[in-house]
């Protein structure tokens, strides 16, 4: 059901883009007005969400510890899975964000001969990593449309990425990788009954949006080439705040744009914000140095306790009878 709705939503989007490409007024809207709007929504929304999270206090230091803590000096500790200082935390977060450390632990359970068996299941980690990294590289490669002259490091990246020259134009590794990653993530959601059970609209829709943008991009690159000069003109127009209407860039390009802008607007209000949120997670970004350094809770308030005096009042006779010392006779 959720899958169907998201498919329909993406289809509508495509049709919309088709409609746009056939009307001069609407292409103006898409290439001159919406880029700024989408960009603004993306930036403002992203910052807003992060600020909302960051504003909420962290009353307790609650790291999840995944290795030996720092204790006696002769006991070997896990500085990254259980950091006790800032550098350890930075290391842990770097592993988490760059290499998906936690996902690497993934296992899958099955019942075999009346026993639960835990098999290693690194596929999710592998394809997840593949997808995220290649998407990042693709986004960076796109910078060549927005910067003139093209910074040498972007070219450098592109040439490494296109190292395995196969076909003309170059087939970028990242293109193949992003498709593989996306396909895996999508199929997994559709095929695995457990995943299908927990998935909601946003899960499918986010994947389909990215899939749409990637597919149209690849089609333009390999099968229906667009006039790159025109694209660059358009993009440079945006950055220099003198947007021009693009001529002869083709329907596919409009669909591509449509997906990308929708993605930018969708991003801050959806689960895609995990990109920013992961940095704030209190079970990961705090050092496990609780007993070494007091953590302050900004809203720590007095509570009603049962004091020793009250306790002794309750039990004084019994304490005396048992021969226990009392403060007040």
């Amino acid at each position: 059901m959720n899958l169907l709705t998201s498919l329909i939503a993406v289809l509508i989007l495509t049709l919309l883009a088709l409609g746009v490409s056939s009307s001069a007024g609407l292409t103006y809207l898409l290439t001159v007005v919406i880029p700024y709007a989408a960009f603004a929504v993306f930036i403002v929304g992203f910052v807003y969400r992060i600020v909302q999270w960051a504003k909420a206090p962290v009353p307790f230091r609650i790291p999840t510890t995944c290795g030996q803590e720092k204790s006696l000096p002769w006991i070997k500790r896990e500085a990254l899975d259980n950091p006790s200082c800032l550098c350890g935390v930075i290391g842990r977060m770097a592993l988490e964000v760059l290499l998906f450390r936690s996902l690497f632990r993934n296992t899958t359970v099955s019942m075999q001969q009346k026993r639960p068996i835990y098999d290693s299941a690194k596929w999710l980690w592998f394809f997840g990593l593949l997808f995220h990294w290649s998407l990042l590289i693709i986004v960076i490669r796109h910078l060549r449309f927005f910067i003139e002259p093209i910074a040498p490091w972007i070219n450098g990246l592109s040439s490494v990425d296109g190292f395995f020259q196969s076909g003309i134009p170059t087939l970028y590794l990242s293109d193949a990788a992003v498709l593989a990653g996306l396909t895996f993530l999508f199929l997994r959601r559709v095929v695995s009954p457990r995943l299908r059970y927990i998935s909601i609209f946003t899960d499918y829709f986010s994947l389909l949006l990215i899939l749409g943008a990637v597919t149209t991009g690849l089609l333009m690159r390999h099968f229906f080439p667009v006039d790159l000069l025109q694209v660059k003109n358009l993009a440079m127009g945006w950055v220099t705040f003198s947007p021009v209407r693009a001529e002869g860039v083709g329907t596919l390009f409009y669909i591509h744009l449509c997906f990308v802008f929708t993605l930018m607007i969708w991003f801050p209000m959806s689960k895609l914000m995990h990109m920013g949120g992961v940095f704030l997670s209190p079970t990961r970004n705090l050092a496990n140095n609780n007993r070494m350094k007091r953590h302050i809770n900004p809203w720590n308030a007095p509570v009603k306790v049962h004091t020793y005096e009250e306790y002794e009042d309750d039990f004084r006779d019994k304490m005396k009878l048992a021969g226990l010392p009392v403060d007040k006779e």
Binding site: L103, P282, H306
Partner: protein, 537 residues
């Protein structure tokens, strides 16, 4: 306890992981006997000043909620969103990648999809979306939102009291989303309208008044400890002292009341007494702070603080230098992650230094509370104990990492170091089931009661099966652990799944091996069971 109403192990193990046809949003809860806990009694709620004390049962149609229950819950959510970054973040961040789904022992043992941590969280998240996010308000179920109804509340009650706050899911989540945190906040919300379980509220109420969960009064604590001292004398011939409420002692010793009141915890407690006597430790127990465990952790953050306050207050009153804590799981979650933040600062205490070895416990320099396994490992390392590990030769031991010391501290090596020094037959369970991957006993967080037996046995199944494997392979007959709840719950779990394996604390092993000055020749262990060499003679 009895398993009369629990299906046989052979039936219970038939778990099916295929999700049902109906989506979880359209599956109402079924309060099946054996899978839920009795609600808190009016008496304990009143004693703690909790909301809406009344008689009710989860199977009742009418839960006698306050008129404006919905408003109370939503206001409560709003307040907590503003007070806990974790709450807001964990509500927003989940991408439903499913990495946590099959990591929960309750899911593995029951196959109930709502026991997947991700769905357990969605129970609350869907309501959060509906009332606290724009998209949820506008798009409703399309955005994964749903209305807060009495049925939803019932579902929360059932599933938040079917989570032992073990944090295993959080180890695997790429964003560290911790269902234990969500359960804690969810239970806090439920408490606002008087929904809680008696196995939590009664110990908490007892603890508040008498200082310990079991409601033992000062004389009773003394009697129990004296009784254990008699036991030690019977087994070893050495009379050990039981210092209580002693002003000016160097160290305050705090341990869960289960240790001195219920088998097999008592043997662990006897182990502490023997050890402290042997090294001549200047310490004291307290009757006022006679509980290390803290059932506030299973109620609300406020309740944690209310119960925990006694430990520092008593340390101050008695004028001790620092605090030593016994073997307990959730007690150590509180000590490590909440105590000083809530009830510090600790300027009236000194940085802990072992009076026997001179070691400074740098890692506890601020909270000033040392874990007994750190303390004992340091003693052994410095050669301060005379040990005869062969006295444990009749035991083939495996070790269960308790959830909280594992995933809220990272206390892995100390107990292993101790065990390896005091016994000769130690066999680890499979890697997926120990250390940070450890499986819960199935009865933590207040769920270790008899009426919830089926769910406990289901939740404990992954742990039990791992024990069973080492039993078959190495003939293991003892399951050591460092947690008072474990010592109670694992005992039933073993009886049900792996008969022949008994449960013990690490310090029981220590005391078995400890050569004491002036002792008689030992023929039995602390339990009075004959030592191996006796058999061979």
């Amino acid at each position: 306890m009895s398993f009369d109403h629990t299906p046989k192990p052979d039936e219970l193990i038939d778990v099916c992981y295929d999700p049902p046809k109906t989506p979880w949003t359209k599956t109402p809860v079924d309060f099946r006997p054996g899978t839920w806990s009795y609600p808190g009694t009016p008496k304990s709620l009143t004693a703690l000043g909790l909301a809406n004390p009344r008689q009710w049962q989860p199977t009742d149609e009418d839960w006698k909620l306050p008129e404006n229950w919905k408003e109370i819950i939503l206001d409560g959510m709003k307040e907590r969103i503003g007070k806990h970054r974790s709450f807001k973040l964990f509500m927003d961040l989940c991408v439903r990648c499913g990495a946590c789904a099959d990591k929960c022992h309750f899911y593995i043992g029951s196959g109930d999809p709502k026991n997947m941590p991700v769905v357990r969280a969605e129970l609350l998240r869907s309501v959060y979306r509906r009332y606290f996010t724009q998209s949820g308000r506008m798009f409703g179920s399309l955005a994964g939102a749903r209305d807060l109804t009495v049925d939803v509340l019932k579902e929360w009650f059932y599933y938040f009291f079917q989570c032992t706050e073990c944090r295993r899911c959080s180890v695997f989540c790429p964003y560290g989303i911790d269902q234990a945190e969500i359960t804690m906040l969810g239970r806090e919300l439920l408490n606002l309208v008087g929904l809680n379980i008696n196995w939590v509220t009664e110990p908490a109420a007892n603890c508040f008044r008498t200082g310990n969960h079991l409601g033992i009064q000062p004389g009773g604590v003394k009697d129990m400890l004296e009784f254990l001292a008699d036991d030690v004398e019977d087994r070893t011939g050495v009379r050990v002292a039981v210092p209580l409420n002693k002003k000016g002692a160097e160290i305050l010793f705090v341990t869960p009341s289960g240790d001195y009141f219920a088998d097999p915890g008592t043997y662990t407690c006897a182990g502490y007494l023997a050890l402290f006597h042997e090294i001549g430790l200047d310490y004291t127990f307290s009757t006022y702070a006679s509980e290390g465990g803290n059932f506030g952790l299973f109620t609300s953050h406020e309740m944690i603080k209310r119960l925990n306050a006694k430990i520092y207050a008593e340390a101050k009153r008695l004028g001790v230098k620092w605090i030593l804590g016994g073997e307990c799981g959730h007690m150590w979650r509180v000590v490590q992650q909440y105590m000083e933040t809530m009830n510090g600062p600790t300027d009236f205490l000194e940085e802990p230094v072992s009076p026997i070895t001179g070691t400074r416990f740098e890692n506890a320099k601020s909270t000033k509370m040392v874990h007994i396994s750190e303390f004992t490992a340091d003693l052994i390392r410095n050669g301060k104990l005379k040990l005869d590990p062969s006295r444990n030769d009749h035991l083939r031991v495996t070790f269960h990492d308790s959830c909280n010391p594992a995933r809220a501290m990272g206390l892995f090596e100390e107990p292993r170091y101790i065990i390896n020094n005091v016994c000769n037959n130690f066999h680890e369970m499979a890697e997926d089931t120990i250390r940070e991957n450890t499986f819960c006993c199935g009865g933590g967080a207040g769920l270790g009661n008899d009426e919830n037996m089926e769910m406990r046995m289901r939740g404990g199944m992954p742990r039990a099966m791992a024990v069973k494997a080492v039993k078959e392979k190495y003939d293991v007959n003892r399951l050591a652990c460092m947690c008072a709840i474990d010592r109670a719950t694992l005992t039933s779990l073993m009886e049900y799944w792996v008969p022949g394996v008994e449960v013990m604390g690490v310090h029981e092993l220590v005391a078995n091996a400890l050569i004491m000055k002036g002792e008689n020749e030992r023929t039995t262990d602390l339990r009075g069971e004959p030592l191996k060499r006796e058999e061979s003679k």
